[in-house]
C-alpha cells in the first residue's frame, strides 16, 4: 500500500515558490503516437501490419520485417516486472526535485520489454500493468502499477506527478448557474478536493442550483466570464489559490445561421464560450502557470467542457457548435502556451446534455452526474481528452476515422 498523501502544510512565506520544470520532452514523430494514446488514457503500441510484431520503443520500420506500415493499436498492457531500481542522483532539474525515482523493466505479454517508471507498490518479479500516462511535459510515458489496485494507489508520488488528481487541491468551477455545477462540486469534494470555489455572476438573478451548492459547502466567488473586470478582480484575489480550474460556463441556444436570422445569440455564445475562456485564461492562467511546481497542491489542470459538436458541426445547433469549435481551437493554443509550465488542459467533450436546451432531443443524453464522474476520472488519470457519453465517444471515433465522412453525416440531418 501507499502512504496516504497528507494535506499540504501552510507555506513558509519566506521561501520561494518552486519554478516549474519539465521532464525531458523531445520525441521522434513516431513516438508521439504514445502521447496521443496517453491523452485518452489508452495503452497502445505500434503493431506491424505485415507481420503482426508488436514494437517498442516506437520506430519507423518493423524490427522484425522492416515494413514501414506500423499503425498504433490498443494492446494488452500486462506483463512482469523483471528488474527495478531507484534513481538517487540525476542532472535533470525536474527529477532532481523529486528523488528518489523508481524505474524498471517490464516484460510485456505481447512481446517487447519496456523500460518504464515503476509505482512504489510493484514488487520485483510480480505481475504488473503498464499505464500510459502524460508526464508534466505532456508526453506519453509508461508506468508499471500493480495488477490489482492497492490502497491509496493514486497517492504514489510518481503517479501523482503524472495525473491531475483533485485530492487536497482547490478547484474553481466557473459558473454556478450551469445545471451541472452541483454534480461537479459534489464529485470533486468526494474525490478529496480541499475546497471548491464556485463562480457566480449576476447575484441579482436567483437560480435553482444555488441551494444545492450551498448545501455542499462550496465558496461562492463573484465571477462572470463575460465581464473582464470581474474576471480580473477574482483572478487577482484567488488566482494563486486555484489548483484546478473547470470552465463550465456555457451559453447555448438552438438554431443554425438561417434559422436565427440575426447575430444576437451568436454574440452571446462567442462572449461566453470563446471570449469567456480567453478572459479566464488571461486572468487565471499566469498565476496557475507559476504554481505548477508548488508541492502537494500545485496548480495542475485546466478543464474545458466542450460540446462534441466542436469536432464537427451539428446544424440544429449550428451557431452554438461554431462557438464550441472556436473554444476547442483556443484550447489548443492554451496547450501550447501552458506547455512550458506543465499545466495540463483537459478537454471534456459531451454529447447532448440533460438540460432545458436539449429537452426536445431524444436520449441518450449526458446527465450532470455522468459528466462529473468523467471529469473527476479524467483528472485522476491525468487525461487531456475525455469523451463523455455514447454520442461523444461515437463522434470522436468517426472523427478519428474520417472527418469528412463525419461532416457529411452530421450535415445530412440524420438522413445519412
Amino acid at each position: 500500500m501507499t502512504d496516504p498523501l497528507q494535506p499540504p502544510v501552510k507555506k513558509n512565506p519566506q521561501k520561494r515558490t518552486l519554478s516549474p520544470t519539465r521532464p525531458p520532452e523531445s520525441r521522434s514523430r513516431a513516438a508521439l503516437g504514445l502521447t496521443a494514446a496517453a491523452a485518452e488514457g489508452r495503452f497502445a503500441l505500434q503493431c506491424c501490419a505485415e507481420c503482426g510484431e508488436v514494437q517498442y520503443p516506437p520506430r519507423d520500420a518493423c524490427s522484425s520485417c522492416l515494413s514501414t506500415d506500423l499503425p498504433w493499436r490498443d494492446v494488452s498492457p500486462k506483463g512482469r516486472l523483471i528488474a527495478e531500481t531507484r534513481i538517487r542522483a540525476t542532472t535533470s532539474l525536474y527529477f532532481r526535485d523529486r528523488l528518489p525515482w523508481r524505474t524498471g523493466t517490464v516484460q510485456l505479454d505481447v512481446g517487447p520489454s519496456v523500460i518504464c517508471h515503476v509505482h512504489g507498490d510493484c514488487e520485483r518479479g510480480a505481475r504488473v500493468v503498464l499505464w500510459n500516462r502524460l508526464d508534466r511535459a505532456g508526453q506519453g510515458v509508461l508506468i508499471a502499477v500493480p495488477e490489482e489496485r492497492t490502497q491509496n494507489m493514486q497517492d504514489d508520488p510518481q503517479l501523482r506527478a503524472m495525473t491531475s488528481d483533485p485530492k487536497h487541491r482547490r478547484v474553481l468551477i466557473t459558473d454556478g448557474r450551469n445545471p451541472n455545477a452541483p454534480a461537479l462540486a459534489k464529485a470533486l469534494l468526494g474525490a478529496g478536493a480541499a475546497a471548491v470555489f464556485v463562480g457566480e455572476g449576476e447575484k441579482w438573478r436567483p437560480y435553482p442550483e444555488r441551494a444545492a451548492l450551498e448545501a455542499l459547502g462550496v465558496e461562492f466567488l463573484p465571477l462572470d466570464v463575460t465581464d473582464t473586470s470581474s474576471v480580473g478582480r477574482m483572478a487577482a484575489e484567488y488566482g494563486g489559490k486555484v489548483d484546478i480550474l473547470i470552465n463550465n460556463a456555457r451559453f447555448i441556444r438552438p438554431g443554425g445561421v438561417l434559422a436565427r436570422g440575426d447575430t444576437g445569440f451568436a454574440r452571446d455564445e462567442i462572449e461566453v464560450n470563446y471570449l469567456g475562456l480567453m478572459r479566464l485564461a488571461q486572468g487565471f492562467g499566469p498565476a496557475m502557470c507559476s504554481r505548477t511546481g508548488d508541492g502537494v497542491n500545485s496548480a495542475v489542470a485546466w478543464v474545458n467542457i466542450l460540446a462534441a459538436t466542436s469536432l464537427s458541426n451539428s446544424p440544429e445547433m449550428g451557431c452554438f457548435s461554431a462557438s464550441q469549435a472556436a473554444a476547442r481551437a483556443l484550447s489548443q493554443s492554451l496547450r501550447g502556451e501552458f506547455r512550458a509550465a506543465g499545466l495540463r488542459v483537459m478537454n471534456t467533450y459531451v454529447g447532448p446534455t440533460e438540460d432545458d436546451w436539449h429537452q426536445p432531443l431524444p436520449p441518450p443524453k449526458v446527465t450532470p452526474n455522468a459528466l462529473a464522474r468523467d471529469v473527476v476520472k479524467g483528472l485522476q488519470n491525468g487525461l487531456e481528452d475525455v469523451y463523455c457519453g455514447d454520442v461523444a465517444k461515437d463522434m470522436a471515433e468517426k472523427f478519428r476515422r474520417d472527418p469528412k465522412v463525419l461532416e457529411r453525416e452530421m450535415t445530412m440531418g440524420g438522413e445519412a
Binding site: 447575484k203 441579482w204 436567483p206 463575460t226 473582464t228 473586470s229 452571446d268
Partner: protein
C-alpha cells in the same frame, strides 16, 4: 430687467437652483430586465480597455463599451413598443429636443411600495396627490417614487418563481395620465416603467403599451427621486441621438430650487 435665462444662470451659480443627478452608474453588475430565455435578451453594460497608457497606446487610456439601448438608467421612445411603432417622431433621433427638458412632478408611493412590493398606483392615488399639490400641469413628466432605487442585488428585481415583484402603475392610472393630464412621459425607479408583474395586467405591460401608443416617453432605473420636490423641478433627460433608436442610456438631471426637496 434681467432675462429669464440670466436669472437662471445667476441662480445656478449662487446655488439657489441646484442640479441633482437621478442616474445610476453604468455598472456591469447592474440588473437589467430578464425575459424568458428563448427571447432575445437585454445586453448588460460591458467595458473593455483599448489601452491604458501602455504598449497598446502609450499616452492615453480609453475603453470600448457595449450595452443595450435599455441598459441602466434609460429613456424609452415610442417606437420601443409595438403600439408606437408607426407614430411620427417615435425614435430617439427624431424626437424634437425641446421634449428633453421640461417640468416634472413626483408622486410619492414609497410608503405603499415598502408595504407591498406589488403595489399598483391607481387614479385614486393620483387624485389624492393632486388634492395636496395641485393638478398635474400639462406636458409634464410624472415620476413615481418608490424608493426602489435604494434596493440592490436580488432585492431590486425581486425575482421569484412567478416572475419579478416590484411596484408600478395600474393601467387606469396610465390612461388617466394620458387622457386627462396630457403628460409628456412617465418614469420609475424600477427596472421598467411597468410593475414587476406587469405582464399579467390588461393590457400586458400597460405603461409601455399605453404610453408609447400615445407617443409618450418612458424613463426607468431612476434614482434619487427622494431629493426632488413634488412639484416645481425641471427635468433634463436627453437620450443619445441613435438612428432609429428605441431608447438610450442617459444622464438624467433635475434642477430644483434650494430647500424645496
Amino acid at each position: 430687467m434681467t432675462s429669464p435665462l440670466a436669472t437662471l444662470a445667476l441662480a445656478l451659480s449662487s446655488g439657489a437652483v441646484e442640479v441633482i443627478d437621478l442616474t445610476h452608474t453604468l455598472d456591469p453588475d447592474f440588473p437589467v430586465i430578464v425575459l424568458p430565455p428563448e427571447f432575445g435578451q437585454c445586453a448588460r453594460f460591458r467595458m473593455e480597455e483599448i489601452s491604458a497608457y501602455d504598449h497598446r497606446g502609450p499616452a492615453w487610456k480609453w475603453h470600448n463599451i457595449t450595452m443595450s439601448e435599455h441598459t441602466g438608467t434609460h429613456f424609452d421612445a415610442p417606437c420601443h413598443w409595438v403600439s408606437g411603432r408607426d407614430l411620427p417622431q417615435s425614435a430617439v433621433d427624431e424626437i424634437p429636443v425641446d421634449r428633453f427638458v421640461g417640468p416634472v412632478v413626483v408622486i410619492d408611493c414609497s410608503a405603499q411600495s415598502a408595504q407591498d412590493p406589488d403595489f399598483l398606483m391607481t387614479p385614486k392615488h393620483i387624485v389624492a396627490w393632486e388634492r395636496e399639490h395641485g393638478q398635474i400641469p400639462e406636458d409634464a413628466w410624472v415620476l413615481m417614487r418608490s424608493d426602489w432605487s435604494k434596493k440592490s442585488g436580488a432585492a431590486y428585481l425581486n425575482m421569484q418563481d412567478d416572475g419579478p415583484h416590484s411596484p408600478g402603475p395600474a393601467p387606469e392610472a396610465i390612461r388617466f395620465l394620458i387622457e386627462h393630464r396630457a403628460i409628456r412621459g412617465f418614469g420609475t425607479e424600477t427596472v421598467g416603467t411597468d410593475a414587476g408583474q406587469g405582464m399579467h395586467l390588461s393590457p400586458p405591460y400597460p405603461a409601455h403599451f399605453l404610453l408609447h401608443g400615445a407617443g409618450k416617453y418612458g424613463l426607468q432605473c431612476l434614482c434619487g427621486l427622494d431629493r426632488l420636490p413634488p412639484t416645481g423641478a425641471v427635468l433634463m433627460a436627453a437620450p443619445l441621438k441613435i438612428r432609429n433608436g428605441t431608447g438610450s442610456p442617459l444622464r438624467v438631471l433635475a434642477m430644483i430650487e434650494k430647500g424645496t426637496a
